[in-house]
Amino acid sequence: MEKAILLESVSKKYDVGSSSLEVIKDLTFDVNENEFVCIVGPSGCGKTTLLRIISGLEPPSSGRVLVFGRPPDPKRQRFGVIFQEDSLLPWRTVLGNVEFGLEIQDQKEAEREKIAKTFLELVGLQGFENYYPHQISGGMKKRVAIARALAIDPDLILMDEPFADLDAQTRSFMQRELLNIWSKLNKTVLFITHNVEEAVFLAQRVVVLTKRPSKVKQIINIDLPYPRARLSPPFISYRERILTAFHEELEVT
């Protein structure tokens, strides 16, 4: 089967002033179609950079990146990217924001509204269509961004710590919702987090990155059926395994 994402010895350097910063070094892994993969790694190790490379926003300095067999190009492929920072258009209502991707892809207006409303319902935001971003909570904003990304029927969903600033309850609610959506829509998801428990709860495979310059430290298959019980012994043992690998990266300097 064709790989959804294929990364082969990808490196990325940034030139900052006169010196250069090596963020990613010789990174190799792949993601299968319809797979749910989580990436965990210490802060500043290059997870967001990696996501920008996979979504075609930036080229790698060297190495090969293929998304469904071709170099990533958002003009020809459909990516649903959920950014780490707030990425809603403040001058558009919630509905207008969810319609944005469809609008860029020249979907007809009547269709657009119908689709947008369906996805707003999916993320539980019916009734908030006419609110502006500054009138809704942080968690609601993230859900709007998720609805916007899903509305274009993406081939690939890329999420950058989408639930990082949610409170514990909303976070676990959103995690369950995301798994529901994923099993319903049959999508490939690459999900970045630095919360190990979240990764074990969501992913079929967890990719642990080293600290900067980052490469793959370990890839762990989570062989647990969904929905997963966070307090079950196998869950905890997966969590401990990944935490150990993760903490090694935090401690070494």
Binding site: L57, V81, F83, L89, W91, I152
Partner: protein, 261 residues
Amino acid sequence: MRKLYLRMRSLLLASTSVIIFFILWELAALYLPSPYFPDPYSVLKAFITIITVGDIDGYTLAWHTLMSLERVLLGFVVGSATGVPIGILLGIKPTLKNAVTPIIEPIRFIPPIAWIPLSIVLLIGMYRYIFLIWVGVFFPVLLDTIAGVKRTSITLIQMARTFGADNKKIITKIIFPGSLPEIMNGLRVGLGVGWMCIVAAEMIGGEPVGLGRLILKYANLLQIDTVIVGMITIGLVGLAMNYFILFLEKRLFRWRVEIKA
């Protein structure tokens, strides 16, 4: 209740200062040695004459105002139609902006009056007015548009790119709407400055109508009361235009938290 009280108080304060202003003016008229300095009452009389009868050529105040408004609005339209697109272009192309800054910056400080001789030599009729008003409108609009474009969030642009947006869509759907608050501010300031250029613009051009003309006509006749009528009208119309755009801004930018607060 408290709101009403505060409103009444500020209204009272405002009218008190207006009354004090007129008393000071009256006193100044009494004690200043110049026979040409009119008191408020003779200005009021001149006002009524110009409104009802018209000036020495028979043009009423409404007519003068309309003609000036037409000229300023034309210049304003040309000023915005050039200032906004050029501002967006310079905002998204920093190299180009750096290249033209040494040309634009000094020109910006040349007052409209200094352009009069050149515009007499080079332009005719309405084009002169439009050009001189344009000089006033263009720069505030340009600078605020550039500032607005620069404030555009990179995350929003990247977000649009991941949906496959090309440069045209990024400009029309992200950069332009995102800069609209600054652009509107530039338009407001530009309209005000353009309006203030009206006297300079009307110093030339043979036509006898316009508020600037009215002032110059009566200045030559040494009838300062009517000159002041022209000045006050310019001030009040400018004020009205400013409030009109502020009102539009409030309605347009309800999504802005700053304006709501």
